[in-house]
């Protein structure tokens, strides 16, 4: 079969090609990537499943509108580098998005094939193409327009900031990205674990942006080291994009939460991912709670919760539990993460709500008192509300509790630039068409605007802001290429 002489019926007869993965038992003891990636043969076969719709609805499902049909056609033809180029017209981080996007809720959800069969594995193909390009050493720089003489500051080097910086630099603007931490990549470095997104891949994608002329400065906390006003008035920036991500973690506010051994997923994951605590003490000075032979419970049902519990398992936890007050159907985590977690032996305690953490006389955690729940009527979120079952309390013995129920917003920008309007939840209020804040020349996007969301939504916001910034700086969007 080749890409051209194949009927739609034949295309649909091809089953969705599964993603090869490390053996579950083996991988639950290491930090190497779980998914191994398609081979060229698998990728080309999967690409044949795409029927090349005249009006590809999958593109509407993509927050950055990758030309999905076009790149898949190139894969089917065996032109992997051409496919990579096509994706990069719209997405600066394809190797990342191919790994962490919730495709089942976006492009693949819209896929026509998916109505009768399994949808085309768009995410797996994106990942394959990006990896192929990186591994074959031909990462070409996209075209860059003539210098405009305008200068933009991007605060935060996570997904929102990177995608904004990328579109700006390609339109000839000078871009400086400020990062608070010592490593670039934001949540991609401190949040998402190595086994789901190898850090080398993030660094390589950022390397590509450096080659395009984006300047990165680490160890700068905007709001403390320098303020937005100083950037604009003293350092000559014509516009600022705020993509600082989510802030401090929420806790549950139940008794015993301050016991030793109760911590936030952000801290646990930052120690392991950013600070490489799994190499302590040989190659990292940062320790992490010793999970070996211990019982660890993670409270929450999102991707961060899955990342934390699978990390605890890899660090040697005897029992690694997910404790979630609703049922699996309501879990916000990606289907693949839940599936992988189960394969790795994560124990799911669903419809259970923690009431109180229990400790010993040294105030170290020893267990958690929970109550069983059942699903009642739908609540404001449209999900069925969990209701406690009277008399069903029990104690789960645990040594570490990781709270993963979401984050608030970092207060620094609000404190130091009070004229930027914020919501009751301290998120920044923007015009959703331009991502402009209430302060002239200042734009924002990503989790600081939406609260905890996904990598790709943040990237979409970064792109929207870049276009609006370009218009602001140049007075027109004429000549603004969305590629």
């Amino acid at each position: 079969m080749d890409a051209k002489n194949i009927t739609n019926k034949e295309r649909m007869a091809i089953p969705r090609q599964p993603m090869p993965a490390q053996d579950p038992t083996e991988r639950s003891r290491n930090f190497q990537e779980v998914n191994l990636g398609y081979t060229p043969e698998l990728a080309m076969k999967e690409a044949l499943r795409c029927i090349q719709c005249k009006d590809p609805v999958c593109i509407k499902g993509c927050p950055v509108n990758i030309k999905i049909d076009q790149f898949i056609l190139k894969v089917a033809e065996g032109d992997f580098l051409g496919a990579a180029k096509k994706i990069k017209e719209d997405n600066v981080l394809p190797a990342v998005c191919g790994r962490v996007c919730p495709q089942e809720d976006q492009c693949e959800k819209e896929c026509i094939i998916g109505r009768k069969h399994e949808p085309v594995a768009i995410g797996n193909l994106e990942r394959f193409v990006a990896d192929w390009e990186r591994e074959h050493g031909t990462m070409e720089l996209p075209p860059i327009k003539a210098a405009t003489g305008k200068k933009a500051a991007v605060i935060g080097s996570g997904p929102a900031g990177l995608s904004c910086a990328n579109d700006l630099v390609r339109h000839g603007h000078e871009v400086v990205v400020f990062e608070a931490l010592h490593e670039l990549g934001g949540v991609l470095m401190y949040g998402v674990p190595e086994f789901r997104l190898p850090k080398d891949i993030v660094s390589k994608e950022i390397e590509g942006m450096k080659n395009m002329g984006v300047e990165f400065r680490t160890d700068v906390v905007v709001g403390r080291s320098v303020t937005i006003d100083e950037l604009m008035q003293e350092e000559g920036f014509d516009a600022v994009f705020i993509g600082v991500g989510a802030g401090l973690p929420w806790f549950m506010g139940i008794p015993g939460e301050s016991l030793v051994g109760v911590l936030a997923a952000n801290e646990f994951l930052t120690r392991v991912n950013l600070m490489k605590a799994y190499d302590f003490p040989a190659k990292s000075d940062t320790p992490v709670f010793d999970c070996k032979g211990k019982n660890v419970a993670v409270f929450g049902g999102g991707n961060t919760a899955m990342d934390a519990v699978r990390t605890a398992k890899r660090l040697g936890a005897d029992h690694a539990y997910i404790v979630y007050r609703r049922s699996e159907a309501e879990m916000p985590a990606r289907v693949e993460e839940i599936h992988h977690a189960k394969e790795e032996g994560i124990e799911f305690l669903l419809l259970m709500n923690p009431l109180e953490f229990l400790g010993n006389d040294r105030h170290w955690l020893t267990g958690v008192k929970c109550i069983k729940m059942e699903l009642g009527e739908p609540d404001d979120s449209g999900r069925r509300r969990p209701v406690p079952i009277e008399g069903s309390e029990f104690v789960l013995p645990i040594d570490m509790a990781i709270i993963s129920i979401g984050n608030g917003s970092n207060p620094l920008i609000k404190q130091t630039t009070p004229e930027i309007e914020t919501s009751k939840r301290d998120t920044i209020i923007v015009d959703i068409n331009t991502m402009a804040t209430s302060k002239d020349g200042v734009y924002a996007g990503g989790d600081i605007v939406t609260g905890g969301a996904t990598v790709i939504l943040a990237m979409g916001a970064g792109r929207t802001a870049a276009k609006a910034i370009h218009e602001k700086l140049m007075g027109t969007t004429a000549g603004y290429d969305e590629w």
Binding site: L181, R224, L248, S284, H363
Partner: protein, 281 residues
């Protein structure tokens, strides 16, 4: 990379280190801290800034070699560099003319009490400083503290210098002598800060302490530095590090700071071993 401009011993195991960090030097206010890493595999450690010189673009830190990272930092030669330093972090000390203000430093805590004493003096306070140490050799910044004080006291636990006793006893004596005290700042080991809070509580003297919980990022993300203040969860890196001493749950802070005790010992011992291996450098 950030260059170490100077590194001078102040007392046994305690050094004053000046580091080139122009952005931080320009912005630093009393009570704020930095996060730094000593080497590329190093942990991020919080250290309160002892002072800064905006013109020279340098900040100074006073560092007691306690664990692996601080020992390593103290072993770095003048002219060498560290990979990362970020700041100034935390909410600056609230400074006003309280009237009579007492700034108390215990051990290396004096390094932090000093810049606040300077700011209190500048704001017009009658400044009393109490500079406590275990023994005479460990007294630091004696001259500096004296220079900003209307009344300066040194205390040593063993009586080898100054007043024989704890900083709490000296403070109690001042209160008993009928002196009207409007504000107390206390920085030092947790038991000392807790004891000071108990001394001032019956008199309702506004008392502030600077807390040192475990931190990882230090910028308002990880939540590692949460402390219980007035029965509420607060984060030292953005809400603090200074809090009302009468509302702080010190026991909880002490408990939570012990979580990595055995790991810290492992790391420190491994570090000592490494230092011996590289001792000739």
């Amino acid at each position: 990379m950030y260059r170490i401009v100077s590194s001078k011993p102040l007392a046994e195991n305690i050094k004053k280190i000046e580091i080139e960090a122009p952005r931080i030097a320009k912005k630093q206010q009393a009570g704020q801290f930095v996060m730094l890493r000593v080497n590329p595999t190093g942990e991020r450690i919080p250290l309160t800034i002892a002072g800064s010189d905006a013109e020279a673009g340098t900040i100074s830190l006073i560092v007691q070699g306690m664990g692996k990272s601080t020992k390593e930092l103290n072993s770095l030669a003048e002219g060498s560099s560290i990979p990362d330093i970020v700041g100034p972090l935390g909410t600056p000390s609230h400074i006003e003319n309280f009237g009579t203000a007492v700034s108390i430093g215990g051990g290396v805590g004096t390094a932090i009490a000093y810049p606040t004493a300077v700011a209190l003096k500048k704001a017009g306070n009658h400044v009393i400083t109490i500079n406590g140490a275990r023994t005479k050799e460990l007294v630091i910044l004696e001259k500096e503290m004296k220079s900003v004080s209307d009344e300066a006291y040194i205390t040593t636990d063993d009586g080898s210098y100054g007043y024989h006793g704890f900083v709490t006893q000296k403070l109690q004596e001042l209160i008993d002598s009928g002196k009207k005290i409007d504000f107390v700042l206390a920085i030092g080991p947790i038991p000392m800060m807790k004891a000071i809070a108990e001394v001032t509580r019956p008199y309702g003297i506004h008392t502030v302490v600077s807390l040192n919980p475990i931190m990882v990022d230090g910028t308002g993300m990880c939540g590692g530095c949460r402390v219980t203040v007035n029965n509420e969860t607060k984060f030292a890196c953005v809400d603090g590090p200074e809090f009302d001493a009468h509302q702080v749950d010190f026991s909880n802070l002490a408990d939570r700071n012990r979580i990595y005790q055995s790991e810290e010992k492992t790391s420190s011992e491994a570090g000592d071993h490494q230092c011996r291996l590289h001792g000739s450098h």
